[in-house]
């Protein structure tokens, strides 16, 4: 009896059992997140965002971001991080630095570094216009004449931003950065915070363990190694059991 308890096979059985129990929770978590990540497009995980304040705080998104804002007619154009807004309506993500915004009779023009964005009266994107040179500011004079200040010159467009000519700097009302009214600022901060982390990103961080930093990655790596050991010990136990039962059957017949 004493020998049986100390047998290496009994030790293997015990090791297999406790290894399985130890990593079962992590393996279930990896399986669930893995299945979900396989269906990112089907379940629109990259276009649905985490809204939980706890998770957002865990990511360190609990502080308000700096807002750049410009008044264009009755509307406010603002930018947080790389997301731009028309009042509270989200416009384009990953936008370069917003340098100004103006309103003409026909549309709104937002100036970013090396890009202009044309908007309709209700904030619908009409066209994105890339420029070769960096824009420093945008201004307007008479209706439909849009001015941009580049590195060493000022250019004007009279045809809805299709072509540009050099122009003198006289009588142009340049767009100036203006502080956003507090209620609007709070609303944009709240909206912005809830549109940063898609479910796909959260699941990827959970699956890889990165959500918990280096410790999380270490635990996931360790679970992988333990799973390999578990598979090997499982196969070993099965082979031994099979050989033993064959030998036992031979002795019977």
């Amino acid at each position: 009896m004493k020998n049986a308890r100390k047998s290496p096979w009994r030790l293997l059985y015990k090791l297999h059992r406790y290894l399985g129990l130890a990593i079962s929770v992590i393996l279930i978590l990896l399986a669930i997140t893995g299945i979900a990540l396989n269906h990112t497009d089907d379940w629109q995980l990259n276009s649905r965002y985490i809204k939980s304040p706890t998770v957002l705080n865990w990511y360190g998104l609990n502080r308000p971001s700096a807002i750049r804002s410009f008044k264009a007619g009755p509307h406010w154009i603002s930018q947080l991080d790389q997301q731009s807004y028309f009042d509270t309506q989200a416009l384009i993500t990953n936008s370069p630095l917003l340098v100004g915004a103006i309103r003409t009779e026909a549309f709104f023009v937002l100036a970013f570094e090396k890009q202009l964005l044309l908007l309709s009266d209700n904030g619908t994107v009409i066209e994105k216009i890339p420029l070769e040179q960096a824009i420093h500011s945008i201004g307007v004079t008479e209706p439909d004449s849009v001015f941009i200040r580049l590195d060493s010159q000022i250019k004007v467009s009279h045809d809805g931003l299709l072509s540009w000519q050099s122009a003198p700097d006289s009588g142009i009302q340049w767009s100036q950065e203006t502080a956003l009214p507090e209620p609007l600022s709070d609303q944009i901060q709240q909206t912005h915070r809830q549109h940063i982390i898609p479910y796909e990103r959260f699941l990827l961080d959970l699956h890889s363990g990165r959500l918990f930093g280096e410790v999380g990655v270490f635990i996931v790596d360790l679970s992988g190694i333990l799973l390999i050991l578990l598979t090997v010990s499982g196969c070993w136990i099965w082979i031994r059991h099979r050989i033993k039962s064959r030998f036992h059957n031979k002795r019977l017949y």
């Binding site: 991080d81 309709s120 619908t124 066209e127 072509s163 959500l211 930093g213």
Partner: protein, 168 residues
């Protein structure tokens, strides 16, 4: 804890920018299509055009106007379509309703960049648009770059459709 949060936020905000890559400027592409580049013109997505564009893109268009350059039968279009998350900028030169050249000008996705190579884009040369609004030539996909391939195919269809709309 603070460094972990900083790492997560930095990784989150900078990932799209790490992959942003411009291969050719819009002006250089237009200049390559004409001896003397003409002035750009604008093409509006009117209420009759918009449903067809939506059908081609399989989603509502993200723009209402696009610019193009035209000299006789030759037109040049610079269009954008999202592959998976980020827009891919593509230039298309069309002559007499046939694609002469299709080139990726800027690629911002983290995967699927193989579509920028000429072994893929050359497949579009000589394509026309059928009456069912599909390309006359079949385009072989690239495994692992399906969404980018789809985006370029949609842009080719869109450019040919716009070209036909301005000079049937």
């Amino acid at each position: 804890m603070k460094s972990l949060k900083l790492f997560l936020v930095a990784a989150l905000l900078w990932t799209p920018l790490l992959y942003a890559e411009q291969y050719l400027s819009e002006a250089s592409f237009v200049a390559s299509a004409f001896k003397t580049p003409p002035k750009p013109k604008s093409f509006w997505l009117t209420p009759t055009i918009k449903p067809i564009v939506q059908q081609l893109l399989q989603h509502p268009p993200a723009f209402l106007r696009t610019r193009y350059w035209q000299e006789q039968q030759r037109t040049v279009w610079i269009l954008e379509e999202i592959g998976k998350n980020e827009p891919i900028t593509v230039g298309v030169i069309i002559d007499n309703h046939h694609i002469v050249q299709l080139q990726v000008l800027a690629f911002r996705e983290s995967r699927g960049w193989e579509v920028k190579h000429s072994f893929f884009t050359d497949q579009f040369i000589a394509s026309t648009l059928s009456t069912e609004q599909s390309l006359s030539q079949s385009i072989d996909g690239i495994s692992g770059a399906t969404l980018s391939v789809n985006a370029l195919t949609k842009i080719a269809q869109l450019a040919l459709f716009f070209d036909q709309s301005i000079s049937p």
